[in-house]
Subunit: 220 residues, 8 copies
């Protein structure tokens, strides 16, 4: 048993589900629609859980020929066989309205892989009473995903308020000194709030997957 | 009740323990021994859990006058009232021998705040059979802290093997293109293994605190 | 009238006081004690206001031979003829204890040039109730100087609370992704709180001088 | 009273006007026309002062359906209920003709929020007599906003001439070593003229808002 | 004999084949179709080996009027007089499907200049059993070209498994902290596997040419 | 006499010709065709020498309505009243064919302002005999402008061969580690050949203007 | 058989020699003398080839207690059981005298692992006739290691002259724009000479190990 | 005639004087005193002009055993056989007192190689009347070397005033956003004053050598 299927253009990791509880998630950019079709078909046949393709543009999504999938344009996500909501609760909080597409990816991926999600939007620290009003939502979560661009200060503020894991997602929102998200990334990494963790710029996907790992442990 | 004590040079967050399950951890650099003494005394009096001071050099540690503390020179850590080991198991894995001081901080902080720890040292991917031999240690952990410098590839390798949360700590080990740890940091953030999270360069402390947040949820 | 005195090693700008309301402030690094002595003597003779030398190390300060000066070791500041406190009130707020030396320079320069100062220390956003408790101090200020390292989130939080000018001073406190203060600098420049302004890393001096310009206008 | 209105896609900070003397200014990028419409409508109903949306492209502006607004294409600014000119005088100075769009945003925002503005264009230091000829304009201002790209030397030159606050706006004018405005930004931050303050690259808006904070204090 | 032909717009290095065993390879970007036509014609007339033009877009390729050439759209490569496969075996391994265009250039150039090539695709370390299954392919190669983006960890893993030369090609696959390939580049340069060498980002061409130099020595 | 004409959108430096021997050269980007028209008309009326506008795209050039001008599309240069060739000889040398547009700007500007120019193209160090064959051309020049991208090694090679001034122009030719010309820029600044000077990336214009300053001195 | 020995502080890769033809080379920095002693002892007992420790400072070297070793202070290298010189010839060429320590490491490691070495020093391109005079030495080599700092142009020049593999080692020689070796690194990666490969800054060791891989193939 | 002497540790370029009018200048860092002694002895014997060693620390200078040399501690320069002052006049201008060591190197090298020098110190743009007062000194120069750190604005101001060549030397004076001289470097490269040229950070030597090249042409 090799644990993978060699399609020539891809070695599909069919062992992933048994190893990590979830079929391999397909990274869309740079793949032809026919390649996505082939990989998804293989994953659907060789596993039982949800199958996802991320960062898919609408024109590519339209060319992927596999029955039963749904496409979320804001999240740029293709999903087959979404999981039912589980008991692990994730709260996705955004600093500003402009951070929504990244948060949407996080929320959509988390939902598709079986996490229960809530969303709190536009609670940036420039009007900190908006965050304070959301404290109940935050307190009920098992993990908070903070999505923020510019200076990313929301991650520190949330990190100081809650006891649960905080996964910070820097976004490329902003201009000039925002440095395409690098400033938020570095700021979140040096947060004065202890125990925050950080994922790649604009990677709502990574934060959801990190939450999936948390849920795996919480369920033990 | 203000939730803090104003010592003039510091506003000690005496509310932290009730909010986050652990007294404020003191960041040592830039503080005078007398200031550390004052803050630690206040924390010991206003809380019941472990009190820690991080990144303390030996000469400073020697001048902190509070009974009952212990000093770990490798981890540069001062601890009062360490917690008893709990049920949450953290495995600290290092890529090379030179990463040990950062891993030691992670291990020492994790132990002091009540996590059960194991250590796997020197399992870098240049001899990947060494990592394969450690798979049982990794499989039994509730979270893995991966400590690696240079190109930080160990985080990706571990991330692909385990299902539990992986917290990656880039270190400043290496020279030239290692860029004082920035290369490992960026590499870990763009890992092809999904759902890794990352903390600041050389911050064994942050990884242990992130594990503490995980344990808080796992215990719910 | 040339408006300056040419000492060979320096052209002392004796016109500065009439042009900007304050004698030239001397930048200490790279100057010999004898050069500082010469420049200060010239400034004392050609102007009537306070004369300052910044960033002077103790061994250099000890070799500057001009009667009537005082040296502040924390602020690394030499002062002759300090001004009496005026009506313009500046509040210097720091995120952490480790930011104190930079804040001390800001406070000492501001005091020496005739501003009324108050200090609020250690109100970082990881325990945001500490900042909330300082709102009265902030509200009474004509300008707030926020001194913060690491991710510099305090500037955004303060910027959202007060209506007066906020001058943000990033500090080199922190390590790794703090990038010697560059992260705080960039974060403050991209703050979601509108109308903040920023000065150079670790430049408590610049913030005080910016406040001096504000006072000049407020007094019109 | 929560101090905000939750529209789902945005938490409108309706408390901002009482806290800071001006309704929340809306950041346009990343928002749908319908979202801008909703937020502006809410702000107009819950406050009395000017309502602004920044960085709005013409095609988006055309789709915002709220009566009474005007659109300035150069400044990319939407304004409702502009304030009458107040007594605080701001002079906007540009180094070159190519810096005009950023200066235009600064001037338009400043006018809309009740500051009196004058403009001095194209006074870069390569022909410094042009700046010298503008000294009267500068001397009558309560604050000078200096807008300059490339090496940004105009900020230093102006900073040495006037006693009032100088707010420097680096622009992305130039190429190669201009580094999209980073060079001007860094240069302004290290200016040899004391007490300059700096805002984000190309952020004419931030400079105007900083001037608003100055005016608030000058009026006390 | 000058060793070159001066076409005005180019000095064609007609001596290259005798000096390095291969005619000059033409770098396509920035050259007009007529210029490419002229240079290729000259090279075909003055040498006997394969003539290549790299990084040619389809519209440019269509305008190059020299009989006998073939165009590979994925590799963006024009070839005249390809060499027969020699005894030196190169294995091109990719971390992910998205790295294929760069690997395709490497494979196509290597084939055209007379190296024997095999390809192993999609063996990234997130599912390391896929790499382990390819060990035979790797073991039979005289050199391995590793093509990987994101964190580039595949280079370290391969470098630890094989004894032959490993040429690492970082790709610009990925986003955010992938920094357009800089992260993979730096990571490969600091690999814990000894004796790897690295070429420019996305330069499948350079890796193939480095392999050509290896073959030259192996044939001695 | 103010020494400039204030057109509102520009302060034309009419004193420049008497001060520096050449009318102000107009920087095209960011200027409206009508603005260019106005400035050029003013310069033609107030000075006697050549009038140039740089970096003008064809569509803008077509809208500039001033009789007597010529437009060079490769150099993106508009010229009125070009000077007759003088005795100062400038040799423009390029490393590769792709560097030509930048070299063309240098050559066109130099010619327009009265320098005698020769061009040597495609003499990069990968085939150093091509450079050696050009030594006579180089030896007869009063200054050499070296235009090179990628690693910019041609500047060092030329700098070691000739005794006259060498002005190095880094170009953005190349990809990946070429860093849009930054690599060539830094390389030229640290050349082991003593006494090279460097101008901005892709600035053929600056090099020509630097040569104009040389000619001014040589003619004394 | 696990293929490694677990010493607690290190997992010694005892399988390396059979896998790659050379025992694991020990990276010295960050290791205690006792740790080096333990690892070296283990390697000597479990393998038959040369055992090396790199980057060892003299005071550490003096504390390593294993008989039979020699220490090269310039190369900072400890060696036990050096190999006899083999048939593969490596030429180490340096651009300047200041690059010698890095070249010395390369030469010493290469010699110790059984390569035949020659050295050509101080052939930088500022006096290119010095390089031309060394062409015979270069032509007889099976591989050339080029060690150069500052702008690193020597790599391009050598790459254009020889047909064999060229391994470029950037050094941190130089100041300012040399950027601690980053400039040479980037320059070498973008060399106009095709097929160069590059290793980490100051890593004479890596270049020697890359040559070892070449020799392994040449011997097949 | 090889044109160089091979001393083993150095290939002394004895042809340099005939090629470029000046013996090779020795770069001191990284060379042993005995090596400097050997190279200088060779240069004195094989040429007739001045022999210089740059960047020599006092303890090294004291160990160089060649009769007839002088050592300038501020300039860190060793000189044998200085040239008599020629007719080419160089003015070295500094922005601040702290820039003096770099300017001193420039002045000392220029004097030693036969240029006539004047110095104008401390004319930074914060008090621009100081520069205006120096216009006569500037006007009489054949070339101006501008030495400035921080934001380097002096180069632009001087560039706009004089017609002769301006060689800008950025210095590492300043802190934080001064970025060790990178800010001044980039600012000078993007100066709005046309035709400036720039040399490496802190390289007073390079500027003097560039002036030497100018003098060579002026003397034709």
């Amino acid at each position: 048993m090799s644990g993978f299927t060699d399609l020539g253009y891809a070695r599909v990791d069919t062992d992933r589900e048994s190893r990590q509880g979830l079929p391999e998630v397909v990274y869309g950019p740079g793949k032809q629609p026919a390649e996505i079709t082939g990989i998804v078909t293989e994953l659907l046949g060789r596993s039982t859980g949800p199958v996802l393709v991320t960062r898919v543009e609408p024109d590519v999504a339209a060319q992927v020929r596999v029955p039963g999938g749904t496409y979320d344009e804001t999240a740029r996500l293709l999903v087959w066989r979404p999981a039912a909501p589980g008991s692990f609760r994730v709260c996705v909080a955004t600093a500003g309205t402009s951070d929504w597409p990244v948060a949407a990816e996080s929320e959509a991926v988390a939902s598709a892989i079986g996490l229960s999600t809530t969303v709190v939007r536009d609670v940036g620290v420039a009007g900190i009473h908006r965050l304070m009003a959301a404290q109940d939502d935050l307190a009920q979560a098992d993990a908070v995903i903070v999505v923020a661009g510019m200076e990313g200060a929301l991650a520190s503020a949330v990190g100081g308020l809650v006891a649960c894991p905080v996964i910070a997602v820097p976004t490329s929102t902003g201009y000039g000194a925002a440095m395409e998200g690098v400033t938020a990334l570095l700021a979140m990494l040096t947060s004065c709030a202890a125990g925050l963790t950080v994922v790649n710029i604009d990677s709502g996907f990574s934060a959801a997957m990190a939450a999936h790992r948390l849920a795996a442990v919480a369920h033990r």
